[in-house]
């Protein structure tokens, strides 16, 4: 990664209670693949979608009685950027590994079950892809294993 990335940051504080809005915000950040820089500071590579999503989350935090600001930022050094990107890549790598395990295990499932598992894994693969900003080596194997499962289902049709 030679070119530097522009980041969008959400700095926020949200009341501990009630816990529902706090957990809702946390879940959405996880779904987006945001990386935690510090307590109450999360980051994503900036694009139209991530900026918009963090701005809506900022509104949600304000509505819940918290405080939130959205920032555009650049890391001070390439090394810091690599470290942050590596943490994000490791997080999605874990998700790809789970997908690989699930798709491998599904090969032994009865046909009808396997069909449903395939639909679920394809959906999951697409979701993980949306938060995969710095693709780890696990991405291609995960795609291949799910594609191989699809072929197996197709053959039995």
């Amino acid at each position: 990664m030679s070119e530097r990335v522009e980041w969008v940051l959400l700095a926020y504080r949200i009341p501990r209670e009630p816990s529902t809005p706090r957990i809702a915000v946390w879940r959405k950040l996880r779904r987006l693949g945001a990386v935690q820089v510090l307590d109450g500071l999360v980051a994503l590579p900036a694009d139209a979608r991530t900026r918009e999503q963090l701005e809506w989350l900022a509104e949600e935090v304000l509505d819940a009685g918290g405080a939130a600001t959205v920032w555009l930022a650049r890391l001070g050094s390439a090394a810091q950027e690599r470290a942050l990107a590596a943490r994000m890549a490791e997080a999605v790598a874990g998700e790809y590994r789970q997908l690989i395990d699930a798709a491998t295990a599904a090969r032994a499932e009865p046909d009808a079950v396997r069909r449903r598992t395939l639909a679920r894994l394809r959906r999951e693969l697409r979701r993980v892809g949306l938060r995969d900003f710095f693709p780890p080596p696990e991405r291609e194997p995960a795609r291949r294993v799910v594609a191989a499962l699809a072929e197996l289902v197709e053959v039995r049709r």
Partner: protein, 143 residues
């Protein structure tokens, strides 16, 4: 009436603009701004931070507009299910149509300006509305 929203419209804004022109204000004129501060004083803002007609309590702007204008047409609420998932993908609803609508809108905004995106998506949402209307009447997807 003048209505303002963020430039480079995506699915939620395109759907809101269609909804406004079809069901709220036939003479609607749309203004596109880069920042909430640029919303003209005489315009009603939507899908932009700080606006009433925006994301609210987990709803996308399309749902907020439906609530705010008491639009109870079940076909519109079925469209809301699709628009919500295309915009937020938070699994609140089951909407297999959503990923397709999302990429169509993203692709459109890569090759067309905001006015043209609204023109094209306007026809698209007319068609989607008709499809869902027939689906609700039939109880299954129409051929």
């Amino acid at each position: 009436m003048r209505w303002a929203t963020r430039a480079s419209v995506h699915v939620d804004r395109a759907a809101c603009a269609w909804l406004i022109r079809r069901f709220i204000d036939q003479a609607a004129v749309f203004v596109f701004v880069a920042d909430p501060d640029e919303v003209p004083a005489d315009a009603t803002a939507f899908d932009i931070r700080g606006a009433q007609l925006s994301h609210r309590a987990g709803d996308c702007s399309f749902e907020t507009v439906l609530r705010r204008y008491d639009l109870t047409d079940p076909v519109l609420w079925d469209l809301a299910r699709i628009v919500h998932e295309a915009d937020l993908a938070d699994d609140r609803f089951d909407a297999p149509e959503a990923p397709g609508l999302d990429v169509l809108c993203r692709g459109l905004s890569m090759v067309a300006g905001d006015e043209q995106v609204l023109a094209v998506t306007g026809v698209m949402f007319d068609g989607l509305y008709e499809h869902r209307r027939r689906a609700l009447l039939l109880g299954r997807d129409p051929a």
